[in-house]
Each structure stands twice: as structure tokens, then as C-alpha cells.
Symmetry: C2
Subunit: 326 residues, 2 copies
DNA sequence: AAAGTGCAAGAAATCGATTTCGTCAAGCAC
DNA sequence: GTGCTTGACGAAATCGATTTCTTGCACTTT
């Protein structure tokens, strides 16, 4: 790897001039040409590390998600990466597994690596953004919000919950249960409130036990669905507040020999490649990729020095019925 | 962010001593304590960028995959990340979209960012590893191999093709077609050879048109399946050489009103969360996560200075029937 | 006691860019 | 012609760690 000094020597100018050529400062036509020729000849690429040390910032953004194996976050990551790429930024991807300790570790790495900014889907309300914040690096919360004063992009979860539940009511179901995520997580809370709003307003039947809390994974959804089916007076439809739990719920229905065509299922999120699509499954499509793209745009604006007041962008989910499987 | 100089000043020692404390060199008990106390007090974290500039290498590995939205690569990425994490490395994830230009751009970034090494699933045979190689950074090819002399981890694709096809023969199918990936890609070539070997040896019926080439995506699989169904004497079963094409094939079957229970389908790869599982679908599980983990291990060994001869690790796929959906 | 050995630890060089500062010359006004 | 501004550009400082050199002291060895 050629350095700026070698280029300078070959071009017969000072290193400072070489730097100026590549950073758009005032250099005469003449020397510009000399420098560019020399650089070309040596295959010179500026050493990013040296630049970073001097400039105290890099072109890397850090993306922290709970689990990249969840298709929702995969799509989100893809959106972030696409947008970052357009501006010449790279993305470091980290899985927190919803573990605050892992999250903290990664945030410290982000700080000590001089990463330009962080996009994160916080594992808990107690995220410690201290290290990042003290460096003045921008942070954008995505999908979930935090108590810290940072920009955020989220989905209108309540509206999504309302849409999903309404679709089931409109389809004629009257005993609609809800499988929500872990209690206390804002995201889930809002979605379940959407359900509650509709079942209350539309005067459907709601029994004790119609609200189930589960972890966000397939096994959680399955267990919750089994619990619902064991009720003395089980529901005839269910709203699940994320994609993986829906898979679990459908599995449970299948295992219990219940025809999904007669049992209403509404999902907040998309079922990946489901086929053949059970017609009674309502999917509310969460714009994950768009979420990522928007978050990246906001972060890049801040990195660029934008100082406008904090923003929270809320994206609306759209309903898709019957589900599209590409 | 406190620097090594501030720590040194507070502890009353030289910066060199502070560095030695954190790099395991000979420092007296006494000063060790002083330094650690001072570091603690100031919340000192070594600046990775400065270290990297000096040491000419970082603790970041670069992972290049065609498309992170393909669950196979997601699982692979997860494997890489988990292993990297254990050794304190971070992973930068890049999507090449099978575009050699994008791939090259990322490889150059990896070089100029002093990344410790690269794991890649090459977009084509013409990968240009020049920049990386000249820096002496290790590279591990994953899933596909390259003409360059680098370590590789791959799947025994031919054996996987054999296993899938054999399963169909054993299930009684006699007119088995194959939907392979784009011609000329090693990975696909081997899988299709597995199919060919079995259909030849087991004397099943093979017609012109039973071998279809398609892109690796859902639409490719669907188109290929439709073409197969339009044959004068269509097959009664099909082997698809990746997961996405299988989805497309199943969709085509569904659209044509063909009961997948009576039509044999074997997939090289896993169908994500498929439910209810069509019983006649044979899945050969490709150990994607393990692939990633192994690649990361090999890369880390090389980064650690291992100079043993080049290795190619071949992982055996295992058959799963009926498919497990978690 | 003189010379040799070992080791802790400070001083200073180093990695490769960016950026401040200063110099010099050209251009312009009066 | 003198004084002032302006722009190109080189010299040198800087970012924050690591590492090589060097020094000085304690401890052997003969």
C-alpha cells in the first residue's frame, strides 16, 4: 500500500499537497495532475485508519439488532446497508440477543472504534448510551424507543394492532384473543392496546386468558396458542404481535388438528415464504426495510452535522390480505 | 475519552508504562496498581484507531455474502458473528448482490480499513483478491471456492445432491427432474451432478428438459417448475438446488393445482418456517451456521499467525425428512 | 572492587493521514 | 513605489497508541 509520502515524492510535491488534492482544497491544475498521475501509478488508496485517527471519526455505522435471524431485522439491516452504501458508509452488524450486557459491550466497541454513529433496536429501557453520547456520536433508535434523547424511527404499532384486529372482526370472528410479546416492552404494549381498543369498541367476546404474553419467538407463540386452545371457552381467532410467534401459533393449530381456514389468525409482520397461503391469515406488513433505510438516512444527516430538533418518524404499516408470498 | 497520556499523568508514570500494563509486558506490581487505578478512575478505554494505525491491523473481519435476506446466508452470518465475538472480533457485513463490482469495492474498503481478514462467498470466479492478498490478510472462501490460493469451507454439494435424489427414488418416484442454479457456478454444478449420478445409476426416466437452469431466486424456481409442468411428459418429482428456488417450485405446483403430496420435491437447503409441512418434501439441511462458524475459526487461526498449508474443509449436509419447522 | 547481567521504565520514534501556521510571490490600490 | 490582500504550498504539529532505544539501578560473578 502506497502512502501519501511516496505519492508526494513521486509527484515532487509535499504530502500536504497530496492530501489537499484528495480533499478538495485549493491546488493548482498543474500539481493536481502530477499528484493524480503519481497516485494512479502507485495504486494509492488513502489509509482510512490514519485519517480516522486524525479526523476522530470514520465512515462506519454500527447496527445493533436483537437477532439477525429474524426476517424482520434482516430486512431492516438490508435497508440500512443499502442506504449507507449510497453514501460510502459501511455497516457493522451486531446481534445483541436482547442481552443488555452484550449490547453495552458493542456500544463500547462502537465508541472506541470511532464509529460514525449507531442505529439500535434497544434490548431494554436501560440502554447505556453514555459512552456514545459523550463522544457526540449520533444515535437513532429503530423499532423501539429509549428514554435517551435520540432520533427514532418506529412503526405505528397501535394502528397496526387496530388494523389486524379490525380485519378479523370484519371477517366475522367474534372471540378474538391476542398473543402479545413480553409485558413491559413498548412495542408490544402498543400493539396489544390496538387489539384491546378494537375488541372493546366492537363489543366482541373477551374472556380471561384471551391475552397471552409470550417471548418473541416461535416456541413462545406455540405455547401461548396451546394455552388458548385449552381454555374452557377458546377463541375463534387470534392476533399475534410478531411474525415468529405467529409461526408458533400456526404450528400449534396444526398440531391440534385445527383447520386454519376456520380459525382467524392475524399477524403483525410478514410470514416468510408461507405457502400455500392460508386464506384466513391476515398479515399486517411492517415496512422493515424502509424502517432501516429511514433510520440510516436520519443518522447520516446527523453525521453530516444536521442539528435540527430531535425527530421521531412513525411509519404506517399496511395490511396485506391474502398474504403475498413473493 | 481519556487517553493514555492522561492516565500516565494521573498515575505518575510514562505513557509507555501504561501501554505495557495493558499489553502484558513487564511492569512492577506497584506501577501496575497505580496505572489500573488511574485508568479506572478516568474510565479509560484504549483508542482502537490509534492502536490499529500502529499495529497495522484491527479486530474487525469482513463478511461478504451475496444477499443477507437469503436465510442461508443469514444463518451463515450468525455463525461467523458468534465465533468472532468469542475472540473479541467484530464483523462488518456487506451484501454483494452477486455483483463483481460491488464485491471489488468492498474488498478495497476491507484493505484500506486494515480489516483483519475476509470471509467471502465469491460472486464470480474473477474475484480480485489482489488488494487483500498484497497486504497479507487472510481470506476464507465460504460455500463457493475461488481460483485464488485461500482456505475454503464448503458443503459436500455432490453428496447433498445424491442424498436428495436418492430420497425421492426411495420414495417411489421415477421421473425426477432437477432445477439447478445458473450454469457455470461450481456450487450448482456439483449439486446437479449428484442428481445426475443417481438418476443414471438408478435407471429412472430422464427426458430432455428434465434439467432446468434458473437464477437462484424464487421467481427462477417458479419459472423452471412451470416449464417442467408444460413438458409433454412431465416429471413426477423434482430436485431443487437451493431453498429459494424450491419455494418458487412449490408455488408453481400450487398455482397449477397440483397436490404437493403426490409430487415429490427435494430441496437442498431448508425451507424457512414452512407450515404445515408438506410430507413429501425432502429437505437436505445445509449446515449454514456451522459453515460460518468454521470459516470464522479458520480465519481467526490465520490471523493468529497459523501458517499451515491451505485447507479446504468440506461439511456434510444431513437429510431431514419430514422437514422440521423449528 | 571492577566488570558483567538483567530488568524496569522513561524518551522518543513511529504508524499515515489532516491541518495549522508561515512563507513567498503575484495582484491590486493609492 | 509602498503597503495590503490573496492564494498556493511546504514545514511541522497533531491524533493516540505501540515499540525501539536508552538509561539507571540492583545484583552477580570472579
Amino acid at each position: 500500500m502506497a502512502t501519501i509520502y511516496e505519492v508526494a515524492a513521486l509527484a515532487g510535491v509535499s504530502p500536504a499537497t497530496v492530501s489537499r488534492v484528495f480533499n478538495g482544497n485549493t491546488v493548482s491544475e498543474e500539481k493536481q495532475r502530477l499528484v493524480r498521475d503519481a497516485a494512479q501509478q502507485l495504486g494509492f488508496t488513502p489509509n482510512k485508519t490514519a485519517r480516522r485517527l486524525r479526523k476522530q471519526s470514520s465512515e462506519i455505522i454500527c447496527l445493533l439488532v436483537p437477532d439477525i435471524e429474524n426476517p424482520f431485522f434482516t430486512a431492516l439491516a438490508r435497508g440500512v446497508e443499502d442506504r449507507a452504501q449510497e453514501s460510502g458508509f459501511s455497516v457493522v452488524l451486531c446481534n445483541t440477543d436482547d442481552d443488555p450486557a452484550k449490547e453495552l459491550r458493542y456500544l463500547q466497541i462502537a465508541a472506541s472504534e470511532q464509529m460514525a454513529g449507531v442505529i439500535l433496536s434497544p434490548a431494554s429501557d436501560e440502554v447505556d448510551l453514555g459512552a456514545i453520547a459523550s463522544l457526540g456520536r449520533p444515535v437513532v433508535a429503530v423499532d423501539r424507543t429509549t428514554p435517551y434523547p435520540v432520533d427514532a424511527v418506529k412503526i405505528d404499532n397501535r394502528a397496526a394492532g387496530v388494523a389486524a384486529t379490525t380485519a378479523l372482526v370484519d371477517a366475522g370472528f367474534r372471540r378474538i384473543a391476542c398473543i402479545a410479546g413480553p409485558a413491559g416492552i413498548e412495542e408490544t404494549e402498543d400493539r396489544y392496546l390496538g387489539w384491546k381498543q378494537v375488541v372493546t369498541a366492537r363489543k366482541t367476546v373477551v374472556r380471561d386468558g384471551f391475552l397471552q404474553h409470550a417471548n418473541f419467538r416461535v416456541d413462545g407463540g406455540r405455547a401461548a396458542m396451546n394455552a388458548l386452545l385449552k381454555l374452557a371457552q377458546p377463541p375463534d381467532a387470534v392476533v399475534t404481535t410478531n411474525n415468529l410467534m405467529a409461526i408458533g401459533a400456526l404450528q400449534a393449530l396444526h398440531e391440534n388438528g385445527i383447520d386454519p381456514e376456520g380459525f382467524g389468525v392475524a399477524v403483525l409482520g410478514e410470514l416468510p415464504y408461507l405457502l400455500p397461503p392460508p386464506v384466513s391469515v391476515v398479515q399486517v406488513r411492517l415496512p422493515a426495510r424502509h424502517l432501516g433505510r429511514t433510520a440510516a438516512s436520519m443518522l447520516l444527516e446527523r453525521i453530516g452535522g444536521d442539528t435540527q430538533p430531535l425527530r421521531t418518524v412513525v411509519l404506517r404499516a399496511e395490511i396485506a390480505r391474502p398474504p403475498l408470498s413473493l
